[in-house]
């Protein structure tokens, strides 16, 4: 009889341990996914900032009368370079998106520029990084949603409390940026 009780208790302990390990690993894994998504966004933001000087160099010779447009791009780029928090980064990036949008719109008036292979390829690259940023941001928010759902519902909530994990913030996308079509070609 005593033996049976002992076996029963051992089984219960093992099952509880397995559940604990399962939740522990899941929370860590989801948290890593969020950090990794952010790293992705960061890589793309940097790549985009690196492309801007090349673009300016190419455009300068053609666009002599568009000082303001060019200045806006430079300003947005330095805001991006000096941004510290994720949300600052995203805000600066939205500014850059807007500035580039008007630059490419103005470029329509310069047939020579539009025919420039270098310009064309930079435009492709910038569209690519812009889309990548948008999709990384989307993936980041998706990952945060899954994580938050886990740590806010029972029993995940208890494990999260035990591990000292709190819900993460999603990246807010400003209203102005939302009107920019995500994929513009």
């Amino acid at each position: 009889m005593l033996l049976w009780i002992a076996i029963f208790l051992i089984i219960i302990v093992v099952v509880l341990l397995l559940i604990f390990f399962g939740y522990y690993n899941r929370i860590i894994r989801l948290e890593n996914r969020i950090d990794n998504s952010w790293a992705q966004i960061d890589v793309q933001l940097r790549r985009r900032a690196e492309l801007i000087p090349n673009l300016m160099e190419t455009v300068k010779g053609y666009m002599k009368h568009e000082k303001e447009v060019l200045e806006n791009v430079t300003k947005a780029r330095s805001a991006l370079m000096s941004a510290k928090t994720p949300q600052d980064n995203i805000n600066a990036d939205n500014m850059l998106t807007g500035a580039l949008k008007s630059l490419f719109a103005v470029a329509e008036n310069y047939p020579d520029l539009k025919a420039n292979q270098n310009f064309l390829s930079l435009q492709d690259e910038l569209t690519n990084t812009e889309n990548k940023i948008a999709y990384s941001r989307q993936h980041f928010n998706d990952s945060v949603l899954v994580f938050n759902n886990l740590v806010e519902t029972i029993p995940g909530k208890w494990f999260a409390g035990f591990m000292g994990k709190k819900t993460r913030d999603m990246l807010q996308i400003p209203d102005a940026a939302r009107e920019v079509p995500k994929v513009k070609f």
Binding site: L120, N131, Q138, H139, F185
Partner: protein
């Protein structure tokens, strides 16, 4: 619009798909072993010799098919790696990069197939070694938004574990068909071995022959039923990834109206892999088609 509820639904579907994939692949392997067993029985008239003969060949074949599946599909499609120095193909690589980020998957290898038709397929053994192949016709005729839609659909096939089930089924169905053909022709020419060793044997022989005839049909129908359902799922997962169902809907519309004069190239066995069946006559639907009707797919995408 696509909301977050949908996301959870998609995750659930993927989990169920993974399970279903394992079950179906195991069943296909078993079916294949049974067919070889029947084949061995017809020739040796002895169940034990047949067993010794069937199991290693069956398992060996499945393992080999699995390990060379990707390269053989690419070879069958006569595809080549995308060239980043050509602008159209560079843009294709860009769209694939973007969708892999949206899906949270590693970057698949990108291939191009020379063909007038608008088409694309995905293959690979698992999401870590995915392959996406697009026709030159698609690159020329689709705009970037539509191309993104097509890529989102293919990326979903990778994410949903559809690519493994497709490659394994294609391999097994192909092999079973080959065996049936051998049996059929050898009987036609009066081949086979000594017969008439008693009635029990004759019944077993009849069962074996029937099995060989029915097996490919059974394997194919199972696969087709799954394939059609997964096309819808890949459409909705794709729309979820791109957040733009309209891109894929427009691409499907272009595919519908696309009738090049040349004959489609490549082998028929890989047809189920494509976004739309390259060998299909218009509106051939129902039990024997690999893909759901295109109008229905467009309608579902537009109602998201």
């Amino acid at each position: 619009m696509i909301n977050m509820e949908k996301k959870l639904l998609v995750e659930d579907h993927i989990r169920r798909n993974k399970r279903q994939t394992v079950v179906v692949c195991t069943l296909m392997a078993l079916l294949f072993i049974v067919v070889i067993l029947a084949f061995g029985y017809i020739y040796f008239q002895n169940i034990y010799i047949a067993l010794i003969f069937a199991v290693p060949i069956g398992i060996g074949y499945v393992v080999i098919t699995y390990s060379i599946s990707v390269s053989s599909v690419i070879a069958a499609a006569k595809a080549r790696p995308a060239n980043p120095n050509i602008r159209e193909e560079k843009l294709l690589i860009h769209r694939v990069e973007e969708m892999s980020i949206a899906a949270g998957l590693p970057m698949p290898k990108v291939y191009v197939q020379d063909s007038e038709y608008i088409n694309a397929f995905a293959t690979g053994k698992n999401p870590k070694e995915g392959v996406i192949c697009v026709t030159t016709g698609a690159l020329r005729k689709l705009n970037q938004e539509e191309l993104e839609g097509v890529i989102s659909h293919e990326m979903s096939h990778i994410k949903n574990y559809d690519i493994l089930i497709a490659t394994v089924t294609i391999g097994v169905v192909g092999a079973i068909a080959l065996i049936s053909e051998i049996v059929f022709w050898s009987m036609f020419w009066g081949g086979g071995r000594s017969r008439g060793k008693g009635e029990g044997n004759l019944i077993l022989l009849a069962i074996a022959i029937l099995l060989i005839i029915l097996a490919p049909i059974f394997a194919r129908l199972t696969y087709l039923a799954i394939s059609r359902r997964r096309e819808y799922l890949a459409d909705s997962t794709g729309a979820y990834l791109s957040r733009n169902p309209e891109g894929l809907a427009k691409a499907l519309e272009k595919i519908k109206q696309d009738h090049p004069t040349t004959k489609p190239k490549g082998s028929k066995t890989v047809a189920p892999l494509y976004i739309s069946n390259p060998f299909k006559k218009m509106n051939a639907s129902s039990l024997t088609s690999t893909h759901p009707p295109i109008d229905e797919r467009i309608r579902r995408l537009r109602s998201m």
